[in-house]
Amino acid sequence: MKKLLQIVFLLLLCVSFAMAQDRTISGRVTGSEDGRPLPGVTIRLKGAQSGTSTASDGRFSLKVPPGAKTLEFAFIGYLSQSRSVSSNDVINVVLEPSYNDLSEVQITGYSTVLKKENTSSIATVTGDAISNLPVTSFNQSLAGRAAGVQVNTSSGIVGAPVNIRIRGISSLTSGSQPLIVVDGVPITQNNNGQLYNSADPLGDINPNDIETLDILKDAAATALYGSRGAAGVILITTRQGKAGITKVTYDTYFGYNEPSKKIDVLNADQYNSVINQKRSNAGLSAIAAYGDYDGNGTVDKASTDWQDEVYRKGGIMSHEFAVSSGTEKTSVFASASYLDYDNYIRVNQARRGSARLNITHSVNNWFKVGINTQYSRNLQNGLGSGTGGTLSGIPYGPFFYYPNVPVKVNGDYYTGHGGNSLTLNIPNPRAVLDQNYDNFDTKRFLGSGFAEVSLLPGLKIKSTYGVDYQTGLSTNYWNNGIGDGAGLGGLVQEVYNESLVWNWANTITYNKVIAEDHTINLLGGAEYNKNSTRYLYARASGASDPFYTQFIGSAFTNSVANGGIQNNGFDSYFGSANYSYKQKYLATATYRADAYSGFGIDHRRGGFPSGALAWRFTQEDFLKNNSILSEGKLRASYGLTGNSNIGNYPSLSTYAPVTYANLGGASLSNPGNPDLKWEKTRQLDIGVDATLFEKVNIVLDYYDKKTNDLILNNPVPATLGFPSNQVTENIGAISNKGFEFTANASPINTKNFQWYINFNIAYNKSKVISTDANNDDITPTAATYYSIARPGHEIGSYYLIRWAGVNAQTGLAQFLDANGNTKMYNPATGAWTDPATGKIVSAITSTDKVLLDRSYIPKFAGGLTNDFKYKNIDLSVFLQFATDFYVYDNTRRALLGQTNFNNSTEILNSWTTPGQITDNQKLYYGDATSTQASTRFLERGDFIRGKNLQLGYSLPVAIERKMSLSRVRIYLQVQNAFTITGYKGTNPEVNSNNTGSSDADRNIGGGVDSYTPYLARTYALGLNVGF
């Protein structure tokens, strides 16, 4: 009751001010860098709670009481200004851009905090940095943008999965992908029923709708997400309307893309000669020859570059139209976008249409409601030929197919083997690409609604209900004349997948300032989350007529259906407390208790606490107002998080249905483990945030992250007969330690010329501390692997036989055995000899593999952005880099194969004469041993990539005004412009194990280049218009 009286008193006070003799001050606010009007600048009287803001033309007017002395002008991204109120009723203000971003607000999960008062390690990437880039999803644009966030786009195929790793790999055999939360709703990143082509679940989100991405890195930030926080959390906030400003923007770009690199393979003449030389060295007949392709009785010559045949210049275009508007009570943001991305690989295409509507409305002064919604449709034309390393896949087929046969003869695809006397299992790559299809159609609704009640000053109750509902329809067709479809008489397959995640979060927050110096923020909440997925699969083969390429049931003689259903759920309770003393000493504590349906009832709930302290030392008297250090904060945090990327029922022993032809049966699907409990990641973070000379912002962090009780799919001998040869257990530990450094500065900031630099670099070193009771190696689940996790070493250290070069005298391949002795292999006799003595020795076997202290995970990675602006011209150069890592190039190995598959031109330097120094042993048909996996194909991957170059021109303000526009900018950009690297393959950032593999393959067996399509290099011309 006393409170209420206080409020009434305050309200009366306000009213009494308003009743005094006011005057109106008006004016216009512009930016110093280009003289453009700044909409949305907050203007208020010093000391007052409310004020006004500028409209889209930068103009404002504000009623002030007679005694008013100072007006404050504040705008995010600009230095605040104070102007004294004189007798003049007009105040025009020019704001200087600020590169001191500590004044920004950061989202910490269920609440927001001023960046300067934040106690945890959060990296913020603004929507501007990732909008209008010629890529299909925003996550691809995060590479190199934030320290400690490694982003790996695994291939150049549209929809290729993107791996995001925050501060290293957080698990060995469970998922390491961060949790992604869009406007408060955790979204699913699961497979959505794709068949042979992957789709990126984040590609459904229109990048231009994103206002900010806040990447939570340390435990103080992630512990509030408890069991889902160990791999980091990315919070996406979409754009909102602002009070008093109506802004309409139209953004477009169009251009084309092309493969950023090609692999040189043999042409027809070279092929004939190399293959026949292999045969003759092995005492076999010649098999490669030109043939009579058109059947006219004479031998024709053909030379086909299959890579050229399946690649093209792919056209891209994007349109985005957005309106944002607002009043004191209601703000609206609406957008519509369309992206059409034709990849450089024929057929491969993505089209996305999306619409967004965000509304916030204050019903009265204590009740606020809002919605954030997006609907999108994503149509993806994948490769019906197959991708990667499948026989007909791209680029496997184009690499290895006969170069000495034509694409078409008399208008029809050529499917024979020409004059070659041995057939290849590979179909004509162009024919299979053009005649098969594999399309994917996702429709996704992502939305949330909230209601917020302010009961008492500082006390808010908020309830947010969100859904992530998506359907995916895969349709696939294999033509009856080529490849796998031929034997089946044509095949159609469809998968319909539907998934629904609902999430209901209820929070109570209480903010209170006591005696001016003590600020307290309290948060309590409960959150419930349920995820349900079901799918239907159908397949039909044996088309009555090749006319039928769609799923028309009765047109096919054999059909089969399948389906499945999965559910899981969380219930969570959490709380946090922040305390700030004079904005100088800051403390935070958080706690979250999560229960997950997949655990046994006894171990279902886990508790995840964290604590953080920070000291803004520049607020101390002895440092206040010093000219060097304008802002400085030291912070430390420690906390616990978990990992719930562990499947639906990891602890429950189950039997699953199986079929034995027409008979239905059941079999053990999971041996189960009732003792399974949460995996726990403890993380210490010590960091400094500082601003020097009011221009240079620095963030420095040290972290030490240790995961215990790993939920490990512990490999067990196959003799136990467990599915996938593994049991899920809490064993082992890994650690990641590292430094992160981010700096941004504006070295030059004059009226006509501005230069802005953003640099970040992170160092991470992982270590496997222990595994099972015997500290056994943990291997990827694939039968063929090149790297392992061994206690005492980095995660993903390569484990290979060592190559010892080609013997110059004999031309034979040499390897080192486990003890370092050189052994030479003769494919003609199958014998191994000691090259020094000529004595027969035991064969090099897999026991001669050694662990190399070389991991696929870069130790250093980061990015450098340089933005220049001269008058109306802007130039942006964004470089991404990574060093200290290795790539295993299995593509290169296979392209040196001693079979009738085509080879890379590297094979042309094979040994021919004694004394010849070369890296390629003597040709010998059928010799698989000399090109076996070894360090011969392990290469350093260090690279610097010109990720994005952009040159823009903005129309002068005067001309814009005449056209009644607020902004017109034309720009030219090149994505993946260049890559400087010593790596010989297509892309040092490669990761063939991204697609369709197990988590163990992704975490331990990354860095393998196995038939990865190149990244696209994209050129685009764009236009931004606003009014």
Binding site: L455, S653, A783, G926
Partner: protein
């Protein structure tokens, strides 16, 4: 006051909201699988679990086709022209070879499925009722078949040492719920492996039904157990018992040869009168494009993968008449001849033949003569029964044509080679006769260096995956 009232309403509402969504969200029982404690609680569930054991045998890496292929690729009657099985064909496998790893994994998966179901039934005998021993018999049949397949590929033949004391495979007849040091098993001797298989098959023979009704051939009956037991005895060199077992099958009178071999293969013929046991596949459940028998053995132009063709060594075998009707099950395509025993490229549903009646007849004949060292009329009749249905212009075998027992045995082995070609018998028939591989040909039919009996790479490596996790598991020499 109104505002305060509303505040209380809101607060109450919020409290209710927080309460309403109780922990139900996390109380989710699976609908797509059954908790293991419930998996033997009804007769239907037990029947399903037994079918699950066959499903283990039907793995694409095992007896759905691949294991048969490996036995033939190791021999000289097929040529791998695409290099798909290069490491097996050329005996250049490494310990990390995926073929070896996958077959081993699939084999032990099947063995352990059998173990688990046997234990599950034994713990729920009241549920299984009178069928308990029949079900256990099926499991023990499956376990023996899996062990035989593995010991064939991962160990030298029984006769490699005088007492078969050379390393076989681990004999595992008890399942594990967890990985403990008890699972760090060593390899048993080949003799011990055979003892276990014989015990399993004797139990199966005693307890299985004479017919499995509609599921005959794809599920084992009593005679399948006898016939498999006969094969085990034959490989062991125990000819008296081999003959005894085959006589049980022949004497039952339930099997007879089809008029023509072509009536034993292809869609519609999988449960013919000469099919004793096969691993079934169909359009829905088959080893797919990279593992199915029809894919490996059919030319690319017919929609197959065209990996394996018939060697000229086989096509030109002395004694394999040019008009032998079994040549009808061969297709000439360009330079190469393909077997047509597995024609169902369209659905990849060809069943993998494990035991056909001709094998029963030929084993009975061979065992009889080997046991007595005298060619008897019954043995001759049985050989002729098999040979005559495909014979056109060649002369019929007579007693006079076999001056020695060995000459008869040679004729039997020739007949087995022709009759059972591409059904996964070749390398075992060579090994049990202490013969190496000769006459193997490259893709241009040029000769490949012969490999002597007992050579290291005639058998697979124990997968590196397992030897790494289990130090007790000793690797085969040469790997």
């Amino acid at each position: 006051m109104k505002k305060r009232f509303l505040s209380y309403i809101s607060l109450a509402a919020a409290v209710i909201l927080l309460q309403a969504a109780c922990t139900k969200v996390t109380d989710i029982q699976p609908v797509d699988r059954i908790s293991s404690d419930l998996s033997f609680t009804t007769p239907d569930k037990i029947n399903a679990d037994v079918i699950g054991v066959y499903d283990g045998l039907q793995s694409p890496e095992f007896l759905a086709g691949r294991s048969l292929v490996y036995s033939d690729v190791l021999g000289e009657d097929v040529i791998d022209i695409t290099g798909f099985f290069n490491t097996i064909f050329h005996y250049t496998m490494l310990a990390s070879d995926p073929y070896a790893a996958n077959e081993w994994t699939a084999g032990y998966a099947a063995i352990q499925k059998a173990n688990r179901v046997i234990e599950g039934i034994q713990a729920n005998l009241s549920v299984a009722g009178t069928s308990a021993n029949t079900y256990i018999g099926e499991c023990r049949f499956a376990r023996a078949l899996a062990m035989l397949t593995l010991v064939d590929h991962y160990a030298h033949p029984y006769n490699f040492t005088a007492d078969a004391s050379h390393p076989g495979i681990p004999v595992i007849i008890k399942s594990s719920v967890n990985f403990t040091s008890a699972d760090l098993v060593a390899r048993n001797t080949v003799a011990e492996v055979y003892t276990q298989m014989i015990s399993d098959l004797q139990f199966a023979e005693a307890n299985l039904l004479a017919s499995q009704g509609d599921a005959n051939v794809q599920r084992a009956n009593k005679y399948a157990a006898s016939a498999l037991l006969a094969r085990v005895y034959l490989y062991k060199g125990d000819y008296a018992n081999a003959k005894l077992e085959e006589e049980k099958v022949i004497g039952a009178g339930v099997y007879r040869l089809n008029a023509d071999q072509s009536a034993s293969f292809g869609p519609g013929n999988y449960q013919s009168s000469e099919s004793v046991f096969s691993i079934s596949n169909n359009a829905k459940d088959n080893p797919n494009t990279n593992n199915a028998l029809p894919m490996h053995y059919s030319p690319i132009s017919a929609g197959g993968r065209g990996d394996l063709v018939i060697s000229k060594t086989f096509l030109n075998l002395p004694g394999f008449a040019a008009d032998d009707k079994r040549r009808k099950l061969m297709t000439v395509n360009g330079n190469y001849t393909y077997t047509a025993k597995y024609p169902d490229v369209a659905t990849r549903g060809d069943w993998a033949p494990i035991i056909r009646y001709p094998e029963v007849l030929l084993t009975a004949a061979e065992a009889s003569v080997r046991q007595t060292n005298v060619v008897d009329q019954t043995a001759l009749d049985r050989l002729n029964l098999v040979r005559d249905r495909s014979r056109v212009s060649a002369t019929q075998y007579t007693m006079a044509g076999f001056p020695t027992a060995q000459s008869f045995i040679d004729a039997i082995l020739l007949e087995r080679r022709i009759e059972l070609a591409f059904e996964g018998h070749r390398i075992e028939d060579l090994g049990r006769n202490k013969q190496g591989v000769t006459g193997k040909q490259a893709d241009d039919y040029s000769p490949i260096t012969p490999v002597p009996y007992g050579a290291d790479h005639l058998i697979f490596p124990i997968p590196q995956y397992d030897t790494k996790l289990n130090a007790n598991l000793k690797q085969n020499p040469g790997y």
